[in-house]
Amino acid sequence: MSASTSTPHLPAYAAILRHAVLLVTGALVLIPFVWMVSLSVKPPGEIFRAHFSLWPSQFYGVENYTKALTEAPLLRYMGNGLIVCTLILGLQIIVCAPCAYALAKLRFAGRDLLHGLVLIGLLLPHQVLSLPLFILCYQLGILNTYAALVFPYVVSPFGIFLFRQFFKAIPDDVVHAARLDGLSELAIIWRIMVPMALPAVIAFSIFSVVGHWNDLFWPLIAVRDQSLMPPPLGIMAFKNEEAGNDYGPLMAASTLVVLPLVIAFLAAQKWFVEGLAKGAVK
């Protein structure tokens, strides 16, 4: 979107000021990441040295990363994260798109009330619900399973709201044309509405995957079994039990955990812009 926008004829001092502000804010966001990567290749002795250097005098990366991968089942944690995030995202889209379609395009009694309830759901932080959800999971007997990690997130008020706003912007005539062309309501959702709202789907996917990949709070409550732990919980277990205060391998593990997200985001970003451009046609 902003890839090729430039402001012509900006005075030099304004350009410098603008870039300075951008660089400082960018640095504030990036420094912790850079530090994490930097620590992950340092030997224990260098980590707590008084003066800071970006690159270690003694490269200790191989040892740290080997330790991170071998001393705790890090790949297992990441595999868990992948399974949980994929299930959550898939089910969320399957549930949210029809809900959003009904709220955006169908006329029925109580529609506005239901939409109001969705908005209330949007206001509630998930943590507030953790105790009732824990009891519900206990009653269902799904505690300490993948189901416990997935089920509380399947209905996403945010997803319903976001899709509804996008679907509302699609002209009714398109829905009418699809009905005349012989599409059922479900076919309209999956063949017409969702593809037309692709930018929303991708944006929502990014939010959902990042949120649930990095989620610590609910997995901490829902699972005890190490073989079910998603990455952040795994790192925590790793820190306490395996590595102690050994920050090198801990940072190496953290780097490995965020790496898939960074790669996925860079890939999706390209798509995201493409999706926006496609969505812009009349």
């Binding site: 009418h176 593809p195 037309m196």
Partner: protein, 392 residues
């Protein structure tokens, strides 16, 4: 192919009545236009026929069967929308193919990837491809099959929308203001193409527009709607020359028909705008009525006096062969507009006095509440006025 009929359709959106008991029959193969200003209910009527809206009361039938309660896809109608309503994420070929795919392939056969492996899918898909290509070629968009709607011009999108409607050979073709998003030149061209399409396909067309030029040039019959009521259904020339209602007379024709309040003086004479015209009328002396005079029903007179209208010229508009003269008459608050042949009226300038006479048999008489008063002499003889005046 099928005839259609509406019986006493009513429809309200909330407290607002949109249709007030509309009944209308459309013959098989007819081109009927629903004409009216925006908000008169014409699009709603079309959507009720298509099954996209449900009427509050009344019934709709297509062919021999009542279609009330049938889903849109079961009604065998196709529709072209004002916004075209193309699917922006699909190519032209997929857009046009979709109605056929939905009808001829089963849900399993339409399943992404796996559907292709099922028996018969490939053959049916190939047949559909052939038909889509043929349809698109006949519309002149054969070279655009792989484009997305966003890469097409307005006229091309319009053709894709028509292609998607005609590819499955519907019994009834519905068009909801299909030309209003096009520029003036393209509109005239597409108008001709739609007319041609109707002649080629021979199916029933129901066309909604607020543009009287489209209605007049395209239709076999025009149905004029106003405020949810059907005022008159008749061939274009009758709608123009022999309207049933003052509102029809005022809606049709450009420039607008001149309306003057008059009073019957005695049999055969009407006082109007400070003059007395000799017009046959079945009304008692002293009866108030309204005279509707089309701009082209005037002709120049050399001198004033009984039977002539005299006023001062306010403005002259030249349109080539003819000119429109706006005349201020004494005692009338709005100017009279007359259409005169340019060669007969060469020296008209603003400010000068002008005398006009009227062809008495082309004066339309209305009661003050807007109903048409027909003269006995004229009944059965629809005076036909060329409608070329309307084609802009």
């Amino acid at each position: 192919m099928a005839a259609c009929s509406f019986q006493s359709i009513t429809k309200s959106f909330g407290p607002t009545p949109v249709l007030r008991g509309v009944s209308l029959s459309i013959a098989d193969g007819e081109f009927l236009t629903l004409l009216g200003p925006s908000g008169c209910g014409k699009s709603t009527l079309l959507r009720i026929l298509a099954g996209l809206e449900v009427q509050d009361a009344g019934s709709v039938s297509i062919g021999e069967r009542a279609v009330d309660g049938l889903r849109p896809k079961r009604r065998d109608v196709a529709m072209v929308f004002q916004s075209y309503a193309l699917y922006p994420h699909m190519t032209v070929a997929s857009n046009v193919a979709l109605p056929l795919r939905m009808r001829r392939l089963s849900a399993f056969q339409r399943f992404p990837l796996l559907g292709r492996l099922l028996p018969g899918t490939a053959r049916t898909a190939a047949e559909i491809d052939v038909e889509v290509t043929r349809t698109c070629k006949s519309l002149g968009i054969g070279h655009l099959l792989d484009r997305k709607p966003g890469q097409l011009s307005g006229g091309q999108r319009q053709r894709v929308a028509v292609g998607r409607a005609m590819v499955r050979h519907p019994a009834v073709f519905l068009m909801d203001e299909p030309l209003s998003n096009l520029d003036a030149k393209l509109r005239v061209q597409m108008r001709a193409e739609i007319k041609e399409l109707h002649q080629r396909l021979g199916v029933t067309f129901i066309y909604v527009t607020h543009d009287q030029a489209e209605a007049m040039t395209l239709s076999d019959r025009v149905a004029v709607m106003l405020e949810g009521e059907l005022l008159q259904v008749a061939p274009p020339q009758v709608i123009y020359a022999d309207p049933d209602d003052r509102r029809v007379a005022e809606f049709i024709g450009s420039p607008k028909i001149n309306m003057f309040d008059g009073v019957v003086r005695e049999h055969g004479l009407i006082d109007v705008a400070g003059s007395t015209l000799a017009i046959e009328v079945d009304a008692l002396a002293g009866a108030p009525l309204t005279l509707g005079i089309r701009p082209e029903a005037f002709h120049l007179a050399d001198h004033g006096g009984p039977g002539a209208l005299t006023g001062s010229v306010r403005m002259v508009e030249h349109i080539g062969s003819d000119l429109f003269v706006h005349l201020d008459l004494a005692g009338v608050d709005h100017p009279l507009v007359a259409r005169l042949l340019a060669e007969r009226a060469p020296h008209i300038a603003p400010g000068q006095d002008l005398h006009l006479r009227v062809f008495p048999d082309r004066v339309l008489l209305f009661t003050r509440d807007g109903r048409r008063l027909r003269r006995r002499v004229e009944s059965g003889r629809a005076s036909v006025t060329p409608i070329r005046e309307l084609a802009r």
